[in-house]
Subunit: 407 residues, 2 copies
C-alpha cells in the first residue's frame, strides 16, 4: 500500500508529468521555490514573441487580448483558491500586492493601528508592513510567534497578515478557523497563499477573508519571477481606494482622463502596463490545472509527503535528523522539512546527485512535493539517497560546504 510503484500506477495525475520539461536525472523537490517548465509555456512564449509581438506589434493589445490578461488569469487562479470570478487579478509582485492590500486594510479599520503577523512570516511580508507604517506615519507591526498569533488578537489589531503555509516548516493554518478568529476580534484578514496555491485547493470565499495574495512561480509553475496575484472579497472591491493608483487600474485607461477614477471591482488594483511575456508564460502554465480535479491534487500532495516522511524515518537512524514539519498531514502544506546540524552540506550533496531540495538557515532541509509532476518512485528514491548520504557521510566533502545558494 505504500509501495511506490503501486502508488504511481494508481495515481490519477500520473499523466500530467509529461506536460513538464524535467531535466534528465533530476528529482525536483524545489517546486515550492520555482516550478519547472511546462512544455506549453515554451511553445506559447515562442508564439507570443514571434507572432503576437513580432507580427501584430501595438495591435497585439486588442488582437491577442493582452489587455485583459490580468483579469483572465486572475479568474483561472481564482478556481484554485475558491474565489468567485472577478475577485482575483494577476499583477505586480507578491510584495507589491501585500503593500496594496495592507494599505487597504488599514483604511478599513481607521480606529485600529496594529498589523499583526507571525514573527517567522516570509520576510518580505514583514518588510512591506514596516515600509507602509513608516510611509503613512501610522501603525505598529506586532510580530509574535506563529503559535501565539490568535492570542495576540485584540481591539488594536487592524489586520492580521498571515501566510497559510510556513515557508520553513510547512506548517499549515486552517484558513476558515483562523479567519473566523481574526474576524471575531474585529480585524481584517490578509492571507499570503504563496505556498498554498496550486499545491492543494484553498477555499477563500468560504473563509470570508477580505484579502489574499499569492505567487505565480512556485506551485503554479509560471516561470522565474512570474507575476503574482491578489484577491479581494467581492463586496469590498468597489469601496477600495487604491494606494497605488496607476492607469491600468483606471475605469478607462485609454481615455487618458486627467484624474484617477477606479475601475469597477478588483481591476482597480492593477497599476502599470502588464508584463505580457511573463503573463503568457503563466497563462500556459495554468493550462495544466484545467486537467486537474483539485481533490486529486490535495490527496496526492498529502500522499507524497507522507511517503517521504515514512521512507526517511525508516532509513535514517533516529537522532541524525528530526522532522521539523507537523506530523499530522492536515496541519502541513505540500512540503516537508527536516532539521539536521549539517543540513546545508547534506542538501548540497543531494543536489550534486540530482535531488534538488533547498536549505533554510540554521539547519532546515526543505523538500517540496508538487503533485503535478512528481512520482512516488521519485520521492522514495530521494529518501533513499538522503539516507545514503547521511549513512556514508557523503555530505562531508569540501565542495558541499561552499555557501553560494540563492533560492
Amino acid at each position: 500500500m505504500s509501495d511506490p510503484a503501486a502508488l504511481d500506477a494508481a495515481d490519477p495525475l500520473a499523466g500530467l508529468r509529461d506536460a513538464f520539461h524535467l531535466p534528465e536525472g533530476v528529482i525536483y523537490l524545489d517546486g515550492n521555490s520555482l516550478g519547472p517548465l511546462p512544455k506549453r509555456a515554451a511553445a506559447t512564449l515562442r508564439d507570443v514573441v514571434e507572432r503576437e509581438w513580432g507580427e501584430s506589434l501595438i495591435r497585439g493589445w486588442t488582437a491577442h487580448g493582452w489587455v485583459d490578461l490580468p483579469e483572465r488569469l486572475g479568474d483561472r487562479i481564482g478556481r484554485l483558491i475558491g474565489a468567485a470570478p472577478g475577485a482575483t487579478v494577476v499583477c505586480d509582485s507578491t510584495s507589491v500586492n501585500v503593500f496594496k492590500l495592507l494599505a487597504a486594510a488599514m483604511r478599513l479599520r481607521p480606529g485600529r493601528d496594529v498589523i499583526l503577523s507571525d514573527e517567522g512570516n516570509f520576510p518580505t511580508d514583514l518588510y512591506i508592513a514596516e515600509g507602509l507604517i513608516e510611509l503613512i506615519g501610522r501603525g505598529r507591526l506586532r510580530r509574535v510567534p506563529r503559535e501565539s498569533v490568535l492570542e495576540a488578537l485584540d481591539a488594536e489589531v487592524a489586520v492580521a497578515l498571515l501566510t497559510q503555509v510556513d515557508y520553513r516548516s510547512g506548517a499549515k493554518l486552517d484558513l476558515a478557523a483562523t479567519t473566523a478568529r481574526v474576524h471575531a476580534a474585529g480585524a481584517v484578514m490578509l492571507w499570503d497563499l504563496a505556498h498554498s496555491t496550486g499545491a492543494f485547493p484553498v477555499d477563500l470565499a468560504e473563509s470570508g477573508a477580505e484579502f489574499a495574495v499569492g505567487c505565480g512561480y512556485k506551485y503554479l509553475n509560471g516561470g522565474p519571477g512570474a507575476p503574482a496575484f491578489l484577491y479581494v472579497r467581492p463586496d469590498l472591491a468597489d469601496g477600495l481606494r487604491p494606494a497605488l493608483s496607476g492607469w491600468f487600474g483606471h475605469a478607462a485607461p485609454f481615455a487618458f482622463d486627467p484624474s484617477f477614477r477606479p475601475a469597477p471591482g478588483v481591476g482597480r488594483l492593477r497599476v502599470g502596463t502588464p508584463p505580457i511575456l511573463s503573463m503568457r508564460a503563466l497563462d500556459a502554465a495554468l493550462d495544466v490545472f484545467d486537467m486537474v480535479d483539485l481533490a486529486d491534487l490535495a490527496a496526492k500532495s498529502r500522499a507524497l509527503s507522507e511517503l517521504f516522511i515514512a521512507e526517511v524515518e525508516r532509513r535514517v537512524p533516529p537522532g541524525e535528523i528530526a522532522l521539523a514539519s507537523p506530523r499530522d498531514p492536515a496541519q502541513r502544506g505540500s512540503q516537508v522539512s527536516f532539521r539536521c546540524p549539517h543540513g546545508y552540506a547534506v542538501v548540497q550533496a543531494l543536489i550534486a546527485e540530482g535531488v534538488i531540495g533547498d536549505f533554510r538557515a540554521p539547519d532546515l532541509m526543505r523538500f517540496g512535493f508538487a503533485p503535478l509532476y512528481l512520482r512516488f518512485a521519485d520521492v522514495a528514491d530521494a529518501a533513499f539517497r538522503l539516507a545514503e548520504i547521511l549513512h556514508e557521510r557523503r555530505w562531508d566533502r569540501p565542495e558541499h560546504h561552499i555557501r553560494a545558494s540563492v533560492t
Copy 2:
C-alpha cells in the same frame, strides 16, 4: 539633401534595421508605444525558457545571473540616459516607480506639500500622485499647463514631476535648464523619461536631477509591458528609506532577516522577485544599443522627423492638417503629431494600408520615429500615403470609424 534614398545611403545606423523583425508591408511609426521585436530577443527568450529555466530550474538564479539582472540592465540603460554605473535599476512598472520616487521626494522636503506637474502629463503619473497624497494624508497635486510649470514653482513645491517629451505633442523640455529652475526654487526634480530613453541621449547626471523613471517597451524595444527603470542621483541613494520595502531591496535578501535593512545604493528600491522572462527580453533588446553611437541616434531622430514634416507639408494642402509638435527640432522628441478633425479615421486608414501610427483624442495623429529601424524612404512613403488618404478621402469609409483602439 532631403532625398530619402541618399539619406538612407548615408545613414550610419542603416545596418541596425536588420536586427529587428519587422512585418512585411508595414511602416511602423508606433515604436513610441511598443517597440518591435529585436531578433535577438526571440532567440534569447527561447534560450532562457528552454535551457535556463527548463534545465537549471532554481539553480538559474545564480547559474545564469538572474538575481543581478535589475542592476545589470539598469547600468545598460544608464549609458543611454547619462547615468553613472550603479545609479539605475530595472524593476516594476513606470507607475510603481513613480510612486516610490514621489514618496522619496516628499520625504526629502518635509516642509513642503505640493507635487507640481503638467496638467497634460501622462495620466498614470498624475494618478499615482493622487493616490500617494491620499495614502499619506499629506500633499496637494498642483496641475498647471505645461508652459506654466516653471512659473508655478514656489516655496510650497516639494517636487516637480515632469515628462521630458509630451506623449501627445512630442514637445521636449530642456532637461538641464528645467532642472536648474526647479532646484532654484528648492524643489526636487523627478523626470519621466518614457518618451526619451532610447530615442535620443539624455544627460541625467549633468542635469543634477534627483530622480527619474522610464519605460522599457517604447524606444528600448523590450516587449509588451517590459519592466521599467528608475534612477536615483548617487549621493542620495544611501539615504533613501524605500516606501515599498520588499525582500529584493534588502541588503541580504536570502538571509531572511526579520527586519528590513536596505541594500546599499539604488538597489534598495527593488521590491519583489524580478520577472526574469520579461527582463531577459529587455536585456536582448539592449544589445542593439551597444552598437550605437548616441550622437548618431540623436541626429537620425531629428532628421527622420524633419523629413516627415517637410514631406507632409509639401504634399498636404494647408488647412487640412496642422502641425501639433514644435517646429524647432531642438524642442521636439522623436515624434511628430498633426491635428486633423477626422484624425481617428485617417489613422485607421493608414493602419489598414500598413502605416502604423496612433491617435490621441480629440484630434491628434501621432507618429513616432525610432532611429534604430526606420528608413528615410519609409518616412517619405508614410507621408505620401497620408497625403493620398487625405486627398482621396480614403479615411471616409465606415470601417475606419469603428473605435476599438487600445494603445
